[in-house]
């Protein structure tokens, strides 16, 4: 015990031990403290920038309610043209197109239909291709009926053959979008 005390009384041992204690304290306490502080401040800054106050959320909800009312008013004007009233568009859409052209006095030689993919606001899209025969005036009447109908339909393409003859031939592609 006395030997140990003698050793501790030596300046080299005393200051050496003090230096060791200081270094261990820096390594184990000071540096981890600065690391923790820097990390915490960064986290708090990020959290504060992301956090919106409850009052702001309530105010935003009120604004959203107003916007939703305006939106539903606008939707109610447009949506009826895109309502899907049929159970199977792939069958009903070509049948409706056929009867529409036949009602205008045209002869329908062939009809084919398919569903096509679209990324327009969750709408589904169907395309009908028809080969028709008849006069230009009948075709113009049919176009009027298609484009002014209650259900939205649009011509993608139309080609007219045998324009010189009394009964021209038409190849048309119609597209419909439904909700």
């Amino acid at each position: 015990m006395n030997k140990l005390r003698v050793e501790f009384d030596k300046p080299v041992v005393r200051y050496g031990l003090l230096a060791v204690v200081v270094m261990v304290a820096i390594q184990q306490l000071v540096l981890p403290w600065f690391d923790w502080r820097a990390t915490k401040v960064a986290e708090l800054r990020q959290a504060r920038s992301l956090l919106v106050s409850e009052d702001a959320v309530v105010a935003a909800s009120a604004r959203l309610d107003t916007a939703k009312q305006e939106l539903s008013a606008a939707l109610s004007e447009v949506q009826p043209r895109f309502q899907d009233t049929s159970t199977n568009q792939k069958v009903d859409f070509p049948a409706a197109a056929r009867s529409l052209f036949e009602a205008s006095g045209l002869t329908v030689n062939s009809v084919s239909a398919e569903e096509v993919s679209t990324d327009l606001g969750g709408l589904k899209s169907y395309v009908v291709r028809l080969e028709l025969e008849g006069s230009i005036s009948d075709m113009l009447r049919a176009m009027q009926a298609v484009e002014s109908g209650e259900q939205y339909m649009s011509f993608n393409r139309m080609t007219v053959f045998d324009l010189k003859s009394q009964r021209a031939r038409f190849r048309v592609e119609l597209q419909r979008y439904v909700i």
Binding site: L44, R48, E54, L64, L71, G121, L123
Partner: protein, 374 residues
């Protein structure tokens, strides 16, 4: 518990704030509190002062140095050389750049104008706290108005710049192509909030230029004269660490508590907003479809207009996604083109092949055009 911690934190902030003087460009030294800004009491001694834009002249220099010691020697030399005033208080802020050099922002304050600042130990440039005011509402050119002065905060290639507001500066920024300025009001407490955030996150190295080292010997002498110095320093350090720990932990707890207490409202709002955006997306899509719906029934009127302009025989007629193609023969191609271009909505008339006379002497054409929806 939450209210208690908030109250204690507010009290701590208020106590520190009372000891900080804010020097404004209107030559006034004010004290900021929750109620606003008041003149700093004469009998009170400020611990440190914040110099707002307009009270200092600033310049920035980039230096390459092999060590911080060498950089400090350069900076101290430059402070005396660059100062535009006879007697000035010079501050600097050091930032390490990506290229391995040091960007030093110098601030010079005229001591003839603000003699009281010569005896303040730490003087912090306030432009960094004005920059903290930039939030979601800010645009690229912002005019902040408040009791501590009017400031312009604008964006350039190196980031946000803060200047004292002047109409001439606004006009010159507009000439440089800055967008319309946005006017935002701030409270002095907003700047105080920025000050606390900056002090807590700042390193000693970046802020050492705020300290007036010539005042240190007197301060040290006073300290050294006191008994139990080392114990007091150790207690002070422990208290400082403890205060920082409590402040950061309490702030973290408050933010987490705020977020979790209103989580249901946030979730409901997020769900409603998602549904709203989906409906809005659908409305836009439907309106777009209606706007670009084909109007082929207008061809009746077009054919009538063309046939009345002279002899016309069509061999081919096509419509494809908004473009019309027409081929045939006509008595006079110029009359046909004139009639076509006069028809409402017709544009972009172009020939697919050159016009040639056929065997009967009529003009043989093949053209395309577009017809806008009326």
């Amino acid at each position: 518990m939450k209210r208690f911690i908030e109250q204690k934190l507010d009290q701590l902030r208020a106590a520190i704030l009372r000891r900080i003087a804010w020097v404004t460009a209107a030559d006034s030294i004010v004290q900021v509190s929750a109620e606003g800004a008041n003149i700093f009491p004469r009998e009170q001694k400020a611990w440190c002062a914040v110099a707002m834009p307009g009270t200092f002249v600033t310049t920035s220099r980039c230096y390459k140095a092999i060590s911080r010691k060498e950089l400090l020697a350069i900076v101290n030399n430059e402070r005396a050389f660059l100062s535009p005033f006879d007697g000035s208080r010079s501050l600097y802020r050091v930032t390490e750049t990506d290229e391995g050099s040091w960007l030093v922002d110098f601030y010079f304050i005229d001591l003839q104008r603000y003699p009281e600042l010569g005896q303040i130990f730490a003087l912090i440039p306030g432009d960094q706290f004005v920059g903290c005011l930039v939030g979601e509402e800010a645009s690229s050119l912002n005019h902040f108005r408040g009791e501590l002065g009017d400031f312009l905060v604008y964006q350039n290639q190196s980031g946000w710049l803060v200047k004292r507001f002047s109409q001439r500066l606004v006009e010159s920024l507009r000439d440089e192509g800055q967008s319309q300025q946005r006017i935002l009001n701030y409270e002095p407490s907003d700047l105080a909030q920025g000050l606390f955030s900056a002090l807590l996150s700042a390193s000693f190295w970046s802020q050492r230029g705020a300290v007036q080292w010539s005042l240190v010997p007197a301060w040290l002498r006073q300290m050294l004269a006191k008994p139990k110095l080392f114990r007091n320093v150790a207690v002070g350090l422990v208290v400082w660490v403890a205060v920082q720990f409590v402040y950061l932990t309490a702030t973290d707890w408050l933010i987490t508590n705020d977020a979790s207490s209103s989580a249901d409202i946030r979730r409901a709002y997020a769900a409603e907003k998602t549904a709203y955006l989906a409906d809005l997306d659908q409305l836009v899509a439907m309106q777009e479809l209606i706007a670009r719906q084909s109007r082929l029934h207008r061809l009746g009127g077009l054919f009538e207009a063309l046939s009345s302009s002279g002899e016309l025989k069509l061999n081919r007629f096509d419509y494809l996604d908004g473009e019309y193609r027409m081929a045939g023969v006509t008595g006079d191609i110029d009359t046909l083109i004139s009639s076509l271009s006069e028809f409402p909505g017709v544009s972009g008339i172009d020939f697919n092949s050159p016009v040639r006379p056929d065997r009967t002497g009529l003009d043989q054409f093949d053209l395309r055009f577009e017809m806008a929806n009326e």
